[in-house]
Structures are given as structure tokens and as C-alpha cells.
């Protein structure tokens, strides 16, 4: 099936070339970081995690979001998702590879990465995160590939693969739960020390992942003659709406706990993120516009979806804009706010703001581009197989 990635129209090759340019820039930036050291990033002693880890956290969610297609199709036998379930699995593969790349970009001694396996440490959540991420990656490769191969040969997938499909369901939940546990089990980091972190992560994942799949479907409808079907898209947007609402609800609960209890540790990060916080006469508020941007995009997207559902209308463009709004809102919320908000107030009660450097952003864009490249190639295979079967 791999041969399908070598045949495409000029738009396809232009898109690959466009992504490759970012990959190349990212590779050069990473070489610089590898040779000169991580002081080229905006991270520092007080703010020792940054863009890499926050992107990792967000992308674990995107990977887990594929569950919203797998679960209805395989467990509830919801046939409408038949054509797009594979897209969820392939998106998960791309997102997980991005996650692993972000981890490698983030560690100071990448050549010693195997120490995680040579000296396994079950009390570290990072160890378990590695286990579930690699496990989920393997499961998605097996399930996606076997099921697509069967579809191409127009036979039923072998029965054994369903074991892996069903195992992948708890794995999808676990990847994001364990990723949340990286944060929510740390004493002295008040903003993260919240039992609602894992459910909140899952809710935002179940909105962000499907939102990206809907956008991909709408694009492929235009450029690759692949129609996911109106009903499937509508069902997905409903899922996105509920998941985004639940995420917003959880964020509001954090506000309640922080501000009603009036405990400074629980309040400060939210203050910093949404209103700015004053410390020693200096105002720290560099994330405020992003966080309010997230709020408006989230509710704007929800409003747009609600309008379309009530009036029973909506063009592809409107659906696409709605999904993009929600996706960006959740990226701002989790890919930026969650990690930075928790870090800005240091354990020594100082406030440090984070500004990523150009080199760091270059690496980040490069990894995103690599992920998009992988997803493009996988989707190309999936769509071409569908065309082949239909022909």
C-alpha cells in the first residue's frame, strides 16, 4: 500500500514540499540546539519546561481523540463512522510520533534516552507514559494497517485484530490520564495539583482530536474527492460540542475552587493566566490575551455549531471554521495555558514569564510539520485505498 504515497497530483506534491520546508528548518534548529545546548530555548532554572512539553501534552490529547471514532464504530457498531475510523487511527499515529519527537527535543541528554528502558522505574509517571504511548502507537499501527489491508482485499479483517482494537480503547484513555498524572501528582505545584486534571484533559482531547479529523475530512472532500458523509460529520460536531462544553465546565470548576476557597496557591495561576498578576510592582500578564482568545474562540465555535444544529443548516466552510475555532481554543487552553500557568509561579514564590525563542519555535514548527507530513501520507494511503475499492 505504501506505493500510493508516490502517486499524486501537483497540489499533493506542493503540500508535501511546503511541509518539508518546515521540517528542514526544524531540523536545522534542532541541530543548533543539539550542538550548542538548550540555553537556546526560552526555558530557564525557574521555568524548566516550555513549549516542547506543552505541545507534547496537547498532542497526546489529539492522539487520544481518535477514540471518539473508534468507540462508536467498534463498540456501538455505529456504521456511519465506517469510512473515517481509519482516519482517527492514522491521526493518532502522527500525533504520537510528534509526542515522542517533542520528548526527545526536550531532554538534555537525548543520547541517553534508552536509560528509561535500561533502568525502568515504575514509580515515575514518565516511565508509564512512555509505556502507554509506545503501546498505543503500536496498537494503532497494527489496527490501522491490518484493517486497511483487509478493506483493500475486500475481506473481513481477521478476528484477532479486534482484540487489539478493544485493547486500544482503554489505552487511548490511559495515554491522556497518565499524561495528566505527570502534572497532577506534584506537590507544591498548586495549579496542577487537581484531581480534575485528567478528566479535563480527556474532555479537551475528545473535542480537539475529532475537530482536527473533521477539518481533514472537509479538506479531503475538496482536494481528494473523499466524502466522509454528512451524517458522520454532523455526529462528530455533536461530540465536539459536548466535549468542549465539558472542558469549559471543568475550567470553571477550577475557578470556583481557586477563588471561593481563596487559597492563594490555587488562585494565583488562574489570576496570572486570565487577569495578570502583580508582584513586586511588576505586572505579569503575557498570556492574558491568549487565554481570553481561547475563551472567545471556544464559545464562538460552540455558538456557531449551536446555530447550525438549531437551524439545521451549515456549509462545509462554516463547519470548518467552527472546528478550527474549537481546535485553536483548546490548543491555547492546554497547549499554552495549562503548562505555563502552572509554571509561572515558582516554588520560591517568584513569578517568571516564559517567552519561547526563535530556535525553539523553529523546532516546534518542524515537529508539527513532520506530524502533518506523516498524517498526510497515511491519509493519502487510506483515501486511495477507498477509491480503489470503490472503483
Amino acid at each position: 500500500m505504501i506505493e500510493k504515497v508516490f502517486k499524486g497530483n501537483s497540489n499533493y506534491w506542493m503540500w508535501l514540499a511546503f511541509l518539508s520546508a518546515f521540517v528542514a528548518v526544524g531540523a536545522i534548529c534542532y541541530l543548533r540546539q543539539f550542538v550548542y545546548g538548550m540555553y537556546l530555548t526560552g526555558m530557564g532554572r525557574d521555568l524548566s519546561w516550555g513549549l516542547y512539553i506543552s505541545q507534547f501534552t496537547f498532542l497526546v490529547g489529539v492522539a487520544a481523540g481518535g477514540l471518539m471514532l473508534v468507540l462508536p464504530y467498534y463498540v456501538h457498531n455505529y456504521k456511519t463512522f465506517g469510512r473515517i475510523t481509519i482516519l482517527g487511527e492514522f491521526l493518532a499515529i502522527g500525533a504520537l510520533i510528534m509526542c515522542l519527537m517533542f520528548i526527545m527535543a526536550d531532554i538534555g541528554q537525548p543520547l541517553r534516552g534508552l536509560n528509561m528502558i535500561l533502568h525502568p522505574t515504575p514509580n515515575s509517571m514518565l516511565f508509564w507514559d512512555m509505556v502507554v504511548l509506545l503501546g498505543y502507537l503500536g496498537l494503532n499501527i497494527i489496527c490501522g494497517w491490518v484493517i486497511l489491508t483487509a478493506e483493500r482485499k475486500q475481506v473481513k479483517p481477521p478476528k484477532w485484530v479486534y482484540i487489539f482494537v478493544y485493547v486500544s480503547i482503554p489505552f487511548a484513555v490511559s495515554i491522556h490520564t497518565v499524561t495528566a498524572m505527570l502534572y497532577c501528582g506534584l506537590p507544591g505545584r498548586h495549579f496542577w495539583l487537581s484531581a480534575i486534571t485528567a478528566p479535563r484533559f480527556l474532555a479537551s482531547a475528545f473535542a480537539a482530536g475529532p475537530a482536527l479529523i473533521v477539518i481533514a475530512c472537509l479538506i479531503m472532500k475538496r482536494v481528494a474527492n473523499f466524502d466522509a458523509g454528512r451524517e458522520a460529520i454532523n455526529k462528530l460536531t455533536t461530540i465536539i460540542m459536548y466535549a468542549a462544553l465539558i472542558n469549559a465546565f471543568f475550567v470553571l470548576l477550577e475557578f470556583f475552587v481557586g477563588f471561593y476557597s481563596n487559597i492563594p496557591g490555587h488562585k494565583h495561576s488562574l489570576q496570572y493566566l486570565f487577569f495578570g498578576i502583580e508582584h513586586h510592582g511588576v505586572m505579569y500578564n503575557n498570556l492574558v490575551p491568549f487565554m481570553w482568545g481561547s475563551v472567545f474562540l471556544c464559545f464562538g465555535g460552540l455558538g456557531l455549531f449551536a446555530y447550525m444544529k438549531i437551524k439545521d443548516t451549515g456549509t462545509d466552510l462554516m463547519i470548518g471554521i467552527g472546528c478550527a475555532m474549537i481546535f485553536i481554543a483548546l490548543w491555547l487552553d492546554k497547549g499554552l495555558g495549562f503548562v505555563m500557568g502552572g509554571l509561572a509561579i515558582t516554588p520560591l514564590e517568584e513569578i517568571v514569564e516564559y517567552y519561547p525563542t526563535a530556535n525553539e519555535i523553529g523546532i516546534t514548527l518542524g515537529i508539527w510539520a513532520t506530524g502533518f507530513l506523516i498524517v498526510t501520507l497515511l491519509y493519502k494511503i487510506a483515501v486511495d485505498v477507498e477509491h480503489e475499492v470503490e472503483a
Partner: protein, 278 residues
């Protein structure tokens, strides 16, 4: 017939796989690392012995647990002594002096009361707490969160001394320990430290780029029978006392039994081994 053979092979295969993986699972789950350090000890004491206590309470423990007592009363009004302490540590451990908060490396340093003890009130605090800085270093906790989160055991609690050590050879530089530490005691080598080391101590290595470092309670000096460098630096005034917290006859215990001392953020349950008299 064919179908039955297939079924048999499937079951045999699955059974064999389970049989092979079972020892691995048993081995993994039986490792003592699964129980985070210290929990085992608490279990030994049993529930019957457990007394109701506050957040900062601790069970009495066995074995050696090295700790430090900083008598700030002897350092008030002497910022030069605080500097002397930091300088001694810097010299002994080849600590680079990098300008700026972003990339700097610190093992022991001083900060204001409200930074060091944010859980204690600093509203209308006395002039003396307001005007003086307090020494900050790794607390060598009995329940260290940094050790709990490290994915490679590069940072670990030495069971013989209770010291939280770093193995720079194994550290992958993920900085999870810096997230876990609620005291901000750890520093990461964002750049090659060597150009920023003023003077080499030939008795101690430097560090490399990409690993985390922190106070080691002068493990290498104690091996030679010497006191930690910071203790020695302010020996004249006797401001820092070092010893075994579990030995009732040690000097540090004598003082702890007599004086009112405080720890940093005891409510987090990390059980710090550094005590302060303020």
C-alpha cells in the same frame, strides 16, 4: 479437523505467551521500587502505632538520616557570612557562575523569608526577618518527590545516609525532578558549565551540559571525614550543625530537642531534613 487444529494452535500460542510474560510481570511488580521509598518503613510501624498528628508529623524512623540545622540567629546581620557559605560550596563543587536567573546554577544560596517560608506568615513580620536573607538548599527529604518522579533513578535516596543524591552519568535531563521539587532546589545545565567555572577544585568533577544538579550534602568530603563545606565555612559562629537526625546523642538532635525549629513547607509531606531556627 483443520479448524480444530488451528484453534488448538491459537490456544497453545496464547498460553505460551502468557507463561513467558508472567515471570516478567511478577519481577516488575515485586521490585521494591514500586513502593516509593519510605512507605515500606511506615508500613512496618503498623496502623496500631499510628498516632494522630498534623500535616508535618513524622513517624520515628530507623537507620541513619543525615540532616542539617541552620541557626539563623547566628547569621542575622551578617550577609557576608551567607556569601561565605555560598562561595565555599561554589569552590568545592566547581559550580559555574552564570549571570542571570535563566541559566544560573545554585546549590546553596540566600533569599528573603517570604520566598523561603511562603507557608509562614510574613505579615507585620519582625524587622529581623524582614531585613535578613535565609539560606536555601536541597532539603534531602525523607519522602523526596524528585526521586519519586525520576524515570531513570538518576536521582535516588541513599538508604545508608538518607541523602538524596544525583547520578550525573544516568540523568537524561528531562527535568521532571525540577517539577517535582517544591523547594526550587535543583538547577539544570542549560549550557556547558566549564567556561563559567572560575577555579577548578581537582578533587571534584564538573558537570556536563544537559544534566540536573543540586546539593549533595558533600558526600565526597564526608568520605574523607570532613564536614560539609558550608558547615565549615561558618564554623566560627557555629551557625550550621550537621549530623544524624535519628541518633538521639548527636549534636543536631540535642539542639532539635531543645530549640523550636521550623522546616520549609512541611505540609507537603516531603519530610525535609533541613531545619531552621529563626
Amino acid at each position: 479437523m483443520d479448524k480444530q487444529r488451528r484453534k488448538f494452535l491459537k490456544i497453545a500460542g496464547a498460553t505460551a505467551l502468557a507463561g513467558i510474560s508472567a515471570p516478567a510481570v511478577v519481577k516488575l511488580t515485586s521490585t521494591p521500587a514500586l513502593a516509593s521509598s519510605g512507605h515500606g518503613k511506615a508500613a512496618e510501624h503498623g496502623a496500631a502505632e499510628h498516632k494522630p498528628e498534623g500535616h508535618g508529623g513524622e513517624d520515628s524512623a530507623k537507620g541513619v538520616r543525615l540532616g542539617m540545622l541552620i541557626d539563623m540567629r547566628k547569621l542575622y546581620g551578617h550577609p557576608e557570612l551567607l556569601e561565605k557559605v555560598a562561595a565555599a560550596c561554589i569552590k568545592v563543587h566547581n559550580i559555574p557562575q552564570i549571570e542571570g536567573n535563566k541559566n544560573e546554577i545554585k546549590w546553596i544560596w540566600d533569599m528573603a523569608y517570604k520566598n523561603v517560608f511562603p507557608e509562614h506568615s510574613s505579615y507585620h513580620s519582625s524587622k529581623i526577618t524582614e531585613e535578613n536573607n535565609f539560606l536555601v538548599l536541597c532539603n534531602h527529604c525523607d519522602e523526596p518527590p524528585c526521586v519519586r518522579v525520576c524515570p531513570t533513578k538518576a536521582t535516588f535516596r541513599d538508604e545508608k545516609t538518607g541523602i538524596v543524591s544525583m547520578d550525573f552519568h544516568r540523568c537524561i535531563g528531562c527535568r521532571f525532578c525540577m517539577m517535582g521539587c517544591p523547594y526550587g532546589a535543583r538547577s539544570f545545565n542549560w549550557m556547558d558549565p566549564r567556561p563559567y567555572i572560575k577555579e577548578y577544585n581537582p578533587d571534584f568533577p564538573t558537570r556536563m551540559r544537559g544534566v540536573v544538579e543540586k546539593c549533595n550534602f558533600c558526600g565526597e568530603r564526608r568520605a574523607l571525614g570532613q564536614e560539609p563545606a558550608c558547615v565549615e565555612a561558618v564554623k566560627d559562629v557555629g551557625a550550621i550543625v550537621f549530623g544524624d537526625l535519628n541518633d538521639p546523642d548527636s549534636e543536631i538532635r540535642q539542639i532539635l530537642d531543645k530549640e523550636h525549629t521550623i522546616q520549609r513547607k512541611p505540609s507537603l509531606g516531603t519530610k525535609p531534613s533541613v531545619f531552621y531556627i529563626v
